[in-house]
């Protein structure tokens, strides 16, 4: 099963946007994670920007960057959203309210608590009525999303955007589900090469695979291990270098996802 990458968006401390990320991963610039300030998404109306939760801002940020990079219309493109944990602040706010005598859950928190909240805001912001799904596979959420997006691109013969994001939970949830730092990534995938395509991915799933690919830079490896969406880093590295690469990502149980990355020409 294969797909072509025609757009990328990235957001993490020290990797603000694909250009910065590519420079770091290609070895042109040192990885220096600084405290992260996410800009308000231009996709949202001004009154929505302040009150929008972090997962939504992250998803909209990387999604809009990837579509701009691809030069593709988001309103006509199907989407796959994937995240292990959803929005921690929202979750904590609800759980805290349910531990009070009033049991007053904020209605906005409640609708923001659904796992598909970023998908909902994305489809509203981009006026997209195209199919959208929202997935979770714990630490393998990125692999599961990639597999679903490529299957959909292949099966429905259409462009599909994958948007993956996770960010640290507040305490006390952080102690039971420690996510290291914020990471979000988006890929615009097509079933056939387009003039904008810059990488081909060939996917295979199986149990008899080499161990998952690690990052050689220890800080990037910490980032990769600490956030389910950052498990995409070996793939981003291959795309940044524009080389042929064979890499392996963790999947569910003892399965692994092998990805053969190839730059043009194909």
């Amino acid at each position: 099963m294969k797909a072509y990458v025609e757009g990328l968006g990235v957001w993490a401390a020290g990797l603000e946007g694909w250009t910065a990320c590519r420079d770091v991963l290609a070895g042109n610039r040192a990885y220096e994670p600084a405290p992260l300030a996410l800009p308000p998404s231009p996709l949202l109306p001004a009154n929505e920007r302040r009150r929008t939760v972090a997962t939504v801002r992250l998803a909209l940020q990387v999604g809009s960057e990837a579509f701009a990079h691809a030069g593709r219309d988001p309103s006509a493109t199907a989407t796959v959203f994937t995240s292990s944990g959803g929005d921690g602040e929202t979750l904590h706010g609800i759980l805290d309210a349910l531990d009070s005598a009033e049991l007053d859950v904020s209605p906005m928190r409640f609708h923001n608590s659904v796992h598909n909240a970023p998908a909902g805001y994305w489809t509203i912001a981009t006026h997209s009525r195209e199919p959208s799904t929202s997935l979770c596979a714990f630490d393998a959420s990125f692999s599961a999303g990639l597999l679903d997006a490529v299957a959909q691109a292949t099966f429905d013969d259409r462009a599909v955007a994958l948007i993956a994001y996770d960010l640290p939970y507040p305490e006390p949830l952080h102690s039971v589900r420690p996510i290291g730092s914020t990471f979000a990534v988006a890929l615009v995938l097509t079933p056939k090469p387009t003039p904008a395509s810059f990488g081909r991915l060939m996917l295979s799933l199986g149990e008899e695979m080499p161990t998952p690919t690690k990052m050689t830079d220890s800080a990037l490896e910490t980032l990769r291990r600490g956030n389910p969406a950052a498990r995409s880093l070996p793939l981003l590295l291959a795309l940044a270098r524009g080389d042929h690469a064979d890499l392996v990502l963790d999947y569910v149980s003892s399965n692994r996802l092998a990805i053969a990355v190839a730059p043009p020409p194909w």
Binding site: S84, S113, A119, G120, T123, H127, E130, L135, A144, D148
Partner: protein, 397 residues
């Protein structure tokens, strides 16, 4: 789409355990909803499942223990269903059976309880709390994989109330892509304070059992359920009672996070895409199982969509008055109800609905009716404007 075969089913709702219990309740027009008083002065009818006192989780999977996983495990352990999965495992191999499940709140009730037991000094959650195995959205997928010792693709979909309808789409794509030969599709959602008080905050919970499409309808009744089906390729050897998945359409409203588009444009698109994917016209649909949660705007929006696509003739009803709104599980519950309608040639009525809203124009059925049912459309719509319509049909015409 290439039709897929639904070869085994398992279902637990407030109407009982198993397909026979559901069939009997639907044919008798019985509701499983009962008024209940909750803390904080809330009275609302719910469709509650009476679970056994002892955990049904197999030894070795005790760390998954929570209400949602107990409900799911009970349904997964159903004798005929578990035997069908075991046979499929034998036939295709453990790595060739995918798991495509859905839930909206997973085991969040365990986290609600853990928050109430936070350490007074440190604020820490109790040591016996298990996030990954209970709260995380993927818990259900991990549980099913462990219970059946399966190693194929596995993912949990969480797209609010369209979740377990959409899971058929994920399964169909992965089967078409050749990544698995069979799939367990379904899921579970259970009553929890998050949804009970969350829907109260939105002003959407009714006090009396919900009355879909009634002129006096005043909100939804939450329910809980677990349901699963085994999906196989249509060419595989089948049984005369098998049901086919003929078509599937997904769309988004692109309108509002928690209010449907009043013009029903997203819902209409999902239905039209399902018909196109099945290669069927509206006259070939004998009955429509509506999303129909009994909210004022939700039912009106769906009615607008139905009448635009089908007119007013096609018999349709919501079975939420019988089961309650089981949120992420609603898609699989109503898929199985649709399968029963086809197998037993009947169209379920709408318990609790007394007087149809004269402003709504679809061919709504108040009472259960007998009649040939060869093909059914089942609608599931959710928060975030997430829509999915499925079309099911008879394997043997």
């Amino acid at each position: 789409m290439q039709p897929l075969r639904l070869t085994a089913f398992s279902l637990i709702t407030c109407l009982g355990s198993g397909l026979e219990a559901m069939l009997a309740a639907l044919q008798a027009g019985r509701s499983g909803l009962n008024r209940r008083h909750f803390e904080g002065g809330l009275t609302t009818a719910v469709g509650e499942v009476v679970l056994p006192l002892h955990s049904p989780l197999p030894p070795g999977l005790a760390e998954f223990d929570c209400r949602n996983n107990r409900l799911a495990a009970l349904a997964l352990q159903d004798g005929a269903f578990a035997a069908a999965v075991a046979a499929a495992r034998e036939r295709y191999g453990a790595g060739r059976i995918g798991i495509f499940l859905g839930t909206s709140t997973s085991g969040i009730a365990s986290t609600e309880q853990a928050y109430r037991r936070r350490d007074a000094q440190t604020g820490k959650l109790p040591a016996d709390y298990r996030y990954a195995q209970t709260h995380n959205t993927f818990a259900l997928g991990a549980l099913a994989a462990r219970m059946f010792r399966l190693g194929g693709p596995a993912v949990v979909i969480s797209a609010a109330c369209a979740t377990t309808a959409k899971a058929f789409g994920n399964a169909a794509r992965m089967m078409a892509a050749g990544l698995c030969d069979a799939a367990i599709v379904g899921g579970a959602d259970s009553l929890c304070s998050t949804t009970i008080y969350g829907f109260r905050a939105l002003g959407l919970t009714a006090e009396a059992p919900c009355r879909p499409f009634d002129e006096a309808r005043d909100g939804l009744s939450l329910g809980e359920a677990a349901g699963f089906t085994l999906l196989e390729k249509a060419g595989s050897r089948g049984h005369r009672d098998d049901i086919l998945l003929l078509g599937l359409g997904e769309s988004n409203d692109a309108h509002h996070m928690s209010t449907p588009d009043p013009r029903g444009q997203g819902a209409r698109l999902a239905m039209e895409r399902a018909l196109a994917s099945a290669g069927l016209g509206t006259r070939e649909i004998d009955y429509i199982n509506l999303h129909g949660t009994a909210t004022r705007v939700g039912d009106a929006a769906e009615d607008a969509a139905i009448t635009q696509v089908f007119g007013s003739q096609t018999p349709c009803s919501s079975t939420k008055g019988a089961t309650g709104h089981t949120l992420g599980a609603a898609g699989i519950v109503e898929t199985i109800i649709s399968a029963l309608a086809i197998r037993h040639d009947f169209m379920p009525g709408s318990p609790n609905t007394q007087t149809l809203d004269p402003a709504l124009r679809c061919g709504y059925l108040l009472k259960t009716r007998s009649g040939r049912v060869a093909r059914v459309m089942s609608n599931s719509f959710g928060f975030g404007g997430s829509n999915c319509s499925l079309i099911l049909g008879r394997a043997t015409p």
